[in-house]
């Protein structure tokens, strides 16, 4: 998938919306014999590789699974400590899967605030007059695009480096934000966006980027983006037997998932 994630940051630097599309994670599973030639350390309730990079296993990768069973933070699936388990020669040979650890919600919040400050510093350290903040950040594996509106809201998109058309996507997300969040009378400004409790994904429809939203299936009247008969209506109890449909905000057509 070309778009990895979307973040919306308010003017104080707080994360108000976050969306993660599926991204292929680089994982490596190998069988090891005692003694383990990687140095593992405990950090932030996860077991990370501190030293011994080789064969697709990089420093900073976390232990994801041992012998096919997912680990739970620093404990294995049966409740034993991972470091203790791997220190015991009787448990070998063992197959361990390493990969980049998934970001927790807390970490995403911290990263959003960090980016908010870096955006401002980028503008302050500019050697030219009238520079904006960081609009595009390039790395080996992704490109981060940022669009700051006149009201201080930042829309941040992480995408593949070769992906084009992200500027129009950012403008479109701004449009969708003002349609779905700002025009919602129950939404408080600068607060986390929870307007539609359904899922949303970013996709390509008829030559442009759009947001596909799924209507909320919760009971009772709640504001959601359901377009029934061309008008917005409160979302009354939907039959759970109905197949899920997605609304394409570009052509406003219902699409079957």
């Amino acid at each position: 998938m070309a778009i990895f994630s979307v973040y919306v940051v308010n003017k104080a630097g707080g994360l108000i919306y976050q969306l993660d599309s599926y991204a292929p994670r680089a994982e490596a599973e190998k069988t090891f014999s005692y003694p383990l030639d990687l140095l593992l350390k405990l950090h932030d309730e996860r077991v990370l590789v501190a030293f011994g990079q080789r064969d697709g296993i990089r420093v900073g990768h976390a232990v994801l699974a041992i012998n096919g069973m997912d680990v739970n933070g620093r404990y294995t699936a049966d409740g034993k400590e991972v470091l203790e388990y791997l220190g015991n020669p009787a448990n070998y040979p063992v197959s361990i899967r390493f990969g980049r650890p998934r970001l927790t919600s807390n970490e995403k919040l911290m990263l959003a605030s960090m980016f908010h400050s870096l955006f401002a510093i980028g503008s302050q350290l500019s050697p030219e007059q009238g520079s904006s903040g960081i609009e595009m950040l390039e790395t080996d594996t992704f490109k981060l695009h940022c669009y700051q509106t006149l009201t201080g809201i930042k829309f941040v998109v992480l995408a593949d480096p070769r992906q084009a058309g992200i500027d129009s996507l950012l403008r479109k997300i701004y449009e969708i934000y003002s349609d779905f969040a700002l025009k919602n009378p129950f939404y408080s400004l600068e607060m986390p966006i929870r307007a539609c409790r359904g899922k949303a994904t970013v996709g390509w429809c008829s030559g442009t980027w759009t947001l596909f939203t799924q209507p909320s299936w919760t009971l009772g009247p709640s504001w959601c983006g359901c377009f029934v008969g061309g008008r917005r209506q409160p979302c009354w109890p939907h039959k759970s037997l109905q197949p899920p449909r997605r609304l394409c905000s570009n052509c406003s057509a219902w699409q079957w998932c």
Binding site: G60, S117, I121, G122, L125, S132, M136, L137, T139, D140
Partner: protein
Amino acid sequence: MTVHNLYLFDRNGVCLHYSEWHRKKQAGIPKEEEYKLMYGMLFSIRSFVSKMKDGFLAFQTSRYKLHYYETPTGIKVVMNTDLGVGPIRDVLHHIYSALYVELVVKNPLCPLGQTVQSELFRSRLDSYVRSLPFFSARAG
């Protein structure tokens, strides 16, 4: 297309070298503070990027582009240019290997970990940057 300025940092955050060619706006803070702010910003961007994936290369704003190159020993070469400049990783690598390593590291009289005093390094670096294809001498 032009080069605005260039910073060289070591692994401890000491600014080893700074030169500017076309800089229209100063940061409004003393130079020492500016070096520390720049180093701090790069350090934060690096840790931000490493949380997601890794390998920070460059960032751009509406007016300038900052290119970044870091060696395994922690030496950071940072160059601010115009927006029209593409990836210049090899240029920054050349600045490190052919200029910094040859003229400063291999010089027994140049103490490492401090601002580079070598006039030879300064003049060679200046002539190298001026000879780059994307460096134009116009003031605008």
